[in-house]
């Protein structure tokens, strides 16, 4: 009743939306369900079991890969978020900076290049200068493409912030630095947090760039999963993938909740 009275209502659009969400979530749900399947089959349900999780957690290779992934993600996130915050503050608040569109373009440049090109370019560059720092190579590569993901939410938050708050602080005898410390940064924090979370997830999930850049011994979780998938599907992959999935869901939801709480 109320629906057909809505001037915007169009027949069938709600069904397409329903189909869309089923399409979006069905494969993920199947993955989660079969990670608890007692048999190796991915079609027949043979009872609930934690067997694959136990096996996956006991696997030294998986542990090593997971540790590598987390170390890389932490360093890349810290570096990318710091760099992005400084850049966003300068571009959004310093009126004397010239060529802002160019700098803005540089900051989101990594988003405009297809990943495969970034991957081979980075590999070529590291080979050309003979850089071989183990995980360090991957951290550098991740920092680069995490910068725009950290930058965009921080910049959006800064642009949405009332600049007269900073003017008010200066009017009340706060120096530029004090204003940054007491007003701008505390109010910017939700943007920095969500930028950092996105950067973290992007780093944790990256596959193709890591695949090209990684040296022997620097295997990350996605690369390990890929190697398992290439060999053939093993139920451990389901378990590891589910853990990775759960982790991403938690981080994204957390970032959403923080953003929402700070809006009101």
């Amino acid at each position: 009743m109320t629906r057909s009275r809505d001037i915007r209502w169009l027949p069938g659009f709600s069904w397409v939306t329903l189909f869309f969400f089923v399409f979006l979530y069905a494969p993920l749900i199947i993955l989660v369900v079969f990670s608890f399947n007692a048999s190796r089959s991915a079609t027949v349900w043979a009872g609930f079991s934690f067997e694959w999780y136990t096996k996956a957690f006991a696997n030294d290779d998986i542990q090593r890969a997971a540790t590598n992934s987390v170390i890389i993600a932490i360093f890349a996130t810290i570096a990318a978020t710091t760099i992005a915050t400084m850049a966003a503050l300068t571009l959004s608040r310093n009126k004397r900076v010239k060529g802002k569109p160019v700098f803005g373009g540089v900051l989101i440049f990594p988003l405009m290049i297809p990943e495969i090109v970034t991957a081979v370019a980075t590999l070529t560059f590291f080979a050309a200068i003979g850089l071989s720092l183990g995980l360090g190579n991957i951290i550098i590569a991740h920092t680069v493409f995490c910068i725009p993901f950290a930058y965009l939410p921080i910049r959006a938050r800064l642009d949405g912030m009332d600049e007269s708050l900073e003017a008010a602080a200066q009017d009340l005898y706060a120096s530029k630095f004090t204003t940054l410390r007491l007003i701008t940064l505390p109010l910017l924090m939700p943007g920095i947090v969500s930028g950092a979370m996105l950067a973290f997830i992007i780093s944790l999930d990256d596959f193709i760039i890591t695949l090209m850049v990684a040296e022997a011994g620097s295997t990350t979780l996605p690369i390990y999963i890929y190697s398992l998938v290439r060999i053939g599907i093993t139920p451990e992959v389901n378990a590891v993938s589910t853990v990775l999935l759960g982790f991403s869901v938690i981080v994204v939801t957390l970032s959403y909740v923080i953003g929402k709480k700070n809006k009101t």
Partner: protein
């Protein structure tokens, strides 16, 4: 006061970003541009000798008598990539527009919930998400299993390792890139415009075609570009869902830098992909400037 040092100080905050992206992104791309004009080394890498062979190799192949003859193999791969990317964009548009429209017409609380639901898979591991489709599509997978159990078919259908599977995987991966910009355009759309259109004797569908779609066009174009760029160079979906016989550009590039060890050819392929992408972005930027964002009020 305003010496050169003083002027540079203004840019201090930008220096780390410019340094990191410049040195580790822009310089590497310039290097592969140079590499695309060199000769392949015997065990990977390059020899410092100018040559356009890498580009010639895209279309021609030297036969046994060292005569160049036309070789469509790579052209076919390029067109397959282009074709699959276009199909992906169309699929995303067809699915994404109604979804974006429906969400935009919901009350605010529900809109935010829907957006969260869209973004969650979007941030989950691409590899994991693509891998899920193997579980669904393979011969002993969910669809074939269900169809055989229902007695509709005896032999499993070949679903996995087809171009269709690749397109499906790509649509699945990139459809959020389409929904979000269209939603952003539709959310700003003033409901009173729809009311005005209906008031002036247009029915729902005529209003959709003549009022809503034109106003959502910037979002649809932005979404199409956001889908097209990664779809063209995609690696995971073609690799996992397409199998060996449906090679796409992304996998081809990766091969040159791994087993084939032909870096100049891989670099040349990368340049071709970049050229297509930059052309798209340039056309988009021109279009935006021409319209001056005037479509959105």
């Amino acid at each position: 006061m305003s010496s050169i040092a003083e002027k540079l100080r203004v840019y201090t905050g930008l220096m780390p970003a410019v340094f990191v992206i410049g040195v580790f992104m822009i310089v590497p791309i310039m290097i592969i541009f140079v590499y695309s004009f060199l000769v392949a080394g015997d065990f990977g890498g390059v020899k410092p000798k100018f040559s356009t062979d890498a580009y010639v190799q895209l279309l021609f192949q030297k036969n046994l008598f060292d005569v160049s003859e036309f070789n469509p193999a790579y052209l076919i791969i390029a067109f397959r990539s282009l074709w699959i990317a276009v199909v992906t964009v169309l699929g995303c548009l067809l699915l994404g527009f109604p979804v974006a429209y429906y969400i935009a017409s919901q009350p605010e609380d529900r809109r935010n919930l829907f957006l969260l639901l869209i973004t969650i898979p979007f941030w989950t591991n691409l590899l994991v998400r693509t891998y899920c489709w193997i579980l669904v599509l393979r011969d002993t997978g969910l669809i074939n299993g269900a169809l055989i159990n229902m007695g509709l078919i005896d032999e499993p259908l070949t679903l996995l390792y087809t171009e269709g599977a690749v397109a499906l995987g790509l649509i699945y991966t990139y459809v959020p890139f389409m929904v979000l910009p269209i939603y952003a355009a539709l959310e700003r759309l003033d409901v009173r415009l729809i009311e005005a259109s209906r008031d002036l004797y247009a029915n729902r569908w005529v209003t959709l075609r003549h009022v809503v779609v034109p106003l959502a066009m910037p979002g649809m174009i932005a979404g199409s570009i956001l889908v097209f760029i990664p779809a063209l160079g995609a690696f995971i979906a073609p690799d996992l869902l397409g199998g060996g016989k449906n090679l796409m550009l992304g996998s081809l590039v990766q091969l040159q830098f791994s087993s084939a060890r032909n870096w100049p050819f891989g670099a040349a392929l990368s340049m071709v992909i970049m050229a297509v992408v930059l052309l798209c972005l340039y056309a988009y930027a021109r279009n935006v400037r021409k319209n001056g964002g005037g479509v959105q009020h």
